[in-house]
Subunit: 384 residues, 4 copies
Amino acid sequence: MDGTEKIGIGVVGYGMIGRLHTMNYRQLRFLYPGALPALVLRAVCTSREETARAAQEEAGFCTAVTETEPLVADTELDVVDVSLPNNLHRPVVEAALAAGKHVYCEKPLAGTIEDARAIKNALDRAPSVRFGMVFQNRFFPAVMKAKEIIDEGRVGRIYTYRAEYLHTGYQSPERPLSWRLRKEEGGSGALADLGSHAIDLVRYLLGEFETVQGHLETFVTERPIAHGASAKGAVTVDDVAWFRATMAGGAVGTVEASRFATGTVDNLRFWVYGEKGALHFDLMDPNYLEWFDESLAGGSYGGERGWRRIQTVQYYPDAKVPPARSPIGWNRAHTENQYQFLKAIAEERDPSPGIVDGLRAQLVIDAVERSAVQNGRVVAVMPE
Amino acid sequence: MDGTEKIGIGVVGYGMIGRLHTMNYRQLRFLYPGALPALVLRAVCTSREETARAAQEEAGFCTAVTETEPLVADTELDVVDVSLPNNLHRPVVEAALAAGKHVYCEKPLAGTIEDARAIKNALDRAPSVRFGMVFQNRFFPAVMKAKEIIDEGRVGRIYTYRAEYLHTGYQSPERPLSWRLRKEEGGSGALADLGSHAIDLVRYLLGEFETVQGHLETFVTERPIAHGASAKGAVTVDDVAWFRATMAGGAVGTVEASRFATGTVDNLRFWVYGEKGALHFDLMDPNYLEWFDESLAGGSYGGERGWRRIQTVQYYPDAKVPPARSPIGWNRAHTENQYQFLKAIAEERDPSPGIVDGLRAQLVIDAVERSAVQNGRVVAVMPE
Amino acid sequence: MDGTEKIGIGVVGYGMIGRLHTMNYRQLRFLYPGALPALVLRAVCTSREETARAAQEEAGFCTAVTETEPLVADTELDVVDVSLPNNLHRPVVEAALAAGKHVYCEKPLAGTIEDARAIKNALDRAPSVRFGMVFQNRFFPAVMKAKEIIDEGRVGRIYTYRAEYLHTGYQSPERPLSWRLRKEEGGSGALADLGSHAIDLVRYLLGEFETVQGHLETFVTERPIAHGASAKGAVTVDDVAWFRATMAGGAVGTVEASRFATGTVDNLRFWVYGEKGALHFDLMDPNYLEWFDESLAGGSYGGERGWRRIQTVQYYPDAKVPPARSPIGWNRAHTENQYQFLKAIAEERDPSPGIVDGLRAQLVIDAVERSAVQNGRVVAVMPE
Amino acid sequence: MDGTEKIGIGVVGYGMIGRLHTMNYRQLRFLYPGALPALVLRAVCTSREETARAAQEEAGFCTAVTETEPLVADTELDVVDVSLPNNLHRPVVEAALAAGKHVYCEKPLAGTIEDARAIKNALDRAPSVRFGMVFQNRFFPAVMKAKEIIDEGRVGRIYTYRAEYLHTGYQSPERPLSWRLRKEEGGSGALADLGSHAIDLVRYLLGEFETVQGHLETFVTERPIAHGASAKGAVTVDDVAWFRATMAGGAVGTVEASRFATGTVDNLRFWVYGEKGALHFDLMDPNYLEWFDESLAGGSYGGERGWRRIQTVQYYPDAKVPPARSPIGWNRAHTENQYQFLKAIAEERDPSPGIVDGLRAQLVIDAVERSAVQNGRVVAVMPE
């Protein structure tokens, strides 16, 4: 970089996650000084002019629009950030690709497997465009360290694993319907919303899924259509999803995604059990990776095996603030995901995670849903 | 009791578990002073005279025998303690019942569902005989407290649960075959050996199983026939078992029993997620029950919900030593199980857990095995 | 607010902490939308023109200066943020006060008790000026919840407490001298640097210190003057500080501040033991307050007493993003401290923590140092 | 051993601890088969004939007495187990030594430093007699592993440490007086009762104490003379004791012993911070030693440093049951202490811990008490 490069950014959707991305774009230069071209917040797009204007004011976007077309027509805009509900991803991504803009897309890739494949096909026809996924949980140092330990062969052959993404908050039958509880709007329930993160982490760490055997359950099947309403409507997505999977590499494991796990907060957890060692992580304890080294068996008093809570804290190679040895929270992984995407854009290479990661997670979701409707029989994950 | 009552005990099998039971019979009067009749160690039975003699010497049994017959013929013997491998339970129990002796039987009830049913039938024909099972994990104060909280309705409707019994130690392919790895000798693998405990705890806390969907996996399919031997033999039992179950009460949960869970020690763990609260226990942290009370939601800073580590330590209502407020270990639950069995014998009532608990756990094991050989389809647990 | 209000900010010092404050000023509007006037980054001041220019560029300050005078002369500047080494606080604060500017001052208040008193005196002569301290650890929801529980009388009479701030990194005798290890530059060692945070938290939660008994220790008394240098210089501050204190309210406790606590990261921890309950917090586990309610004694299996890990996560009453139920890190408390300061400025009231908090922490530091040089005798904390 | 050896044991005092020792003597042969001579429970001595008879009946002692003389006159009695209140240790030990009996003495060695020295002097005049102390907390595998790691030099130079023994239960001012709250009967309060264990562990791990600076506090200074009584009497011992100590090896640390630490159960904890590593143990988590290896610094994502929870569980070299990989509780360390004492007797060598350990702990207690009455000035620990 010679200091004159810029990346123009357009944010489509300004709910909680769009606002968060925007806030983060504004702070990247402090966290990673000198590492990126200047970021210019070119445009924000929301469905209503009022909210678009408020977003512009809040964040200092150059323009505020209510349609995708003017946004992707901006010649100084390089990246379209898609922070929309799942079933709205496809048209916006297609418009961005048609205009030659890079895309940064929230998970899951799309609301349906058809949309996901269509996005992939569109991208294949737009070779100069780069596509980044938001799977931010890859970007905790603890998770990156887990990947490193596995890749170095220190876990050895992996026998089994367990991944869970446990939330709470939908237990009360009085909680009314929302788009997240209707298939036609939200696309899917806990499986896509939470399970997509668990699936991506398993893929990131252990490789590809081969077959799955799934079950979906809806505990509260109808809910008030609004707070306090007596009229009720049907819940058409899963409250909880379970599946057992066999991996291409031979490991067997189980995944659970739940919106009914009383007592949990944002507990994305995994355990990997291998020949030479084992790993554990929990997003609610994000500063540590737990690592068990089987080679420490033997010796007095049973040897020295035990789970080591590796203090990964916020050791991001390129980051300057906050100080490395201070605890991090949920948003820190989001900023690193954004940073890595933009760095790839600046360096003209494909970001990771990218389109294949988005599509493959969707294919696993699809397989679990196909198994569940067939009373849990074993089904193969479809190829790309 | 007028102080003259005695209970005569015969121990059949004097491996690790038989020796442990014997040690515990000798210490019950200290832990629970005045609560039981005098316990008399009448006889020990092992397959070889030499080991039987050594056991007699070590523990002070009145006699040592190598066959069941003379043992059950002892008129001053009231209880037969069955601490044998699973597939040897049936003949010894049948002999005991025929002689009118009470039985204290290690888990699982038997090596096969046929043997289990046969034991139940024999017991039905011996109405004066009482039958106690060893499912000692019910007897941690933390587990009893969990039961109490559920029974009081404080968890409310239970949505999901998770139970795991995770061990390690079989990962090395160099570890040779043993009876525990051959179906014809051990009856089953991780499912019966470890899973039976998890199944019993789930039944104890949540009621009956209705359907299951299971999978069994053997990661190391052949092993040396002895340490260092080049000849190999087939492993014919599961290394790891998984199943998903639907309970009669509507809860859905998963169970995993593993001998390949690197980093675990003796980790029998459960989580129960309900409408009003949640519970967690881990046998490696046996002094605490974790309880989450959903009603503490609301109020400043998000309210005061959180997992409370209830200090159950060793609060056994009838116990005198060790002091209640000191940590306990694995064997303490065994002693309480033996105490509760003998107290029921003294009070002429059926012990709990009893034959039904033994049989029903076996029926769940059977259902999981039937599902597994049918590629994981959903199967119903058979009635008693 | 009518939407036209602005607060002009000048940052003096742009090391790690000045940069962090600046990044945070830029993100406050996202975290707390609509809650504050517009913040304008008027000026940055560093000792060298080059670093000042770089800071201006990075953060978008209107001007960059190398002296305090032009900064405080800016009529549109309302707040001077003092992010300098301790012994440079006094002259900058005095200049700000003389110009009628509000001050946001990093801890500790000053390098010496004389400087601290001088600042307080200058402030007393500037009644229209508001003074805020950075004691950010007050601003974890877990800590605010602890304060609430104590203030509601739920802990009852407090008997004892323990506060620790444990760091590591100075153990290697090869680590060279720096200003933090020389009294003439850094003012003090672990006691002021880390201990000031622990002292403030104890005051915040338990009230005023009355007497202390202290000890300071320097384990590595001389160090290379630069990396790899053979020449050595004296370390003139404490590596570790301990003190026992009696509080005005009758509680007795101990405080430890250490730069030599191998295995720690940023472990600011406290335990409060009272008549009716107990509290625990650890900055490395910032999403939870641990609370023990003594009233849960009694009942079956020893009752239901236990430490409850209250999930405070990021429940800030005025905050919008990140979502409340996601884990937070170290910087989140900094942003809340800045927010609360600016809100007080906007509402024309004194911020909390303020000058009295800065001064009283310094008086405790002073008392510990006086005790330590008198071989640990009990000394009274001086009045303001 | 040729199988004919026997050790005759007399237990003096049959309160909770005397009963526990007795129960343990009866189970040692199961835990450590073949490792010890036969143990014969020769005699029990309590102050009242009724309780002595009951103890005899319960445990099968050959005789029951109410005076020390007949007990020590038994020619087949080899060991006198002193499980009496502290101020009664001296006369019984002296009688035992005069009769040439070995002694197994509960902690602390005596009620006063004068008594402790007298016991030591009597022992010096009885060279054929062996003296064992009960400091059972040395006998957790986790603690033994800590000792091993330190002795191997893996912690390096030790800078600081912290030891705590925290109990609860005396907070209620309604709890009436007892001998444990009166100096003339109990000798001392939390310092001797709990602190003696902490002191012994520090000595065991880190070597000798050199100077101390102590403070004792009594929070509830008078109490009802009996449950519900309106008459009150003075509490004449400490509720809580604190001291800072400098060790002969250069380490500086603090010790706290408290009966007022709400929320604790039996929390004997230590932390050791050294040049190359750190250690942590908590008796309420007795199956693990936490070990931090500083040499794992460096490398990607901040290296791999972290606290490892070494699974020591119950790896006792000579033990057979319970299985090594199952969790242990408080009493397990008692049995190992008894085993090690008896093994030393059988092998005709001095047990460890022995008289020097008892006396030196008492000298530290004495120094803390002397410092406390001099307003906390630094005092030297007296030589033996």
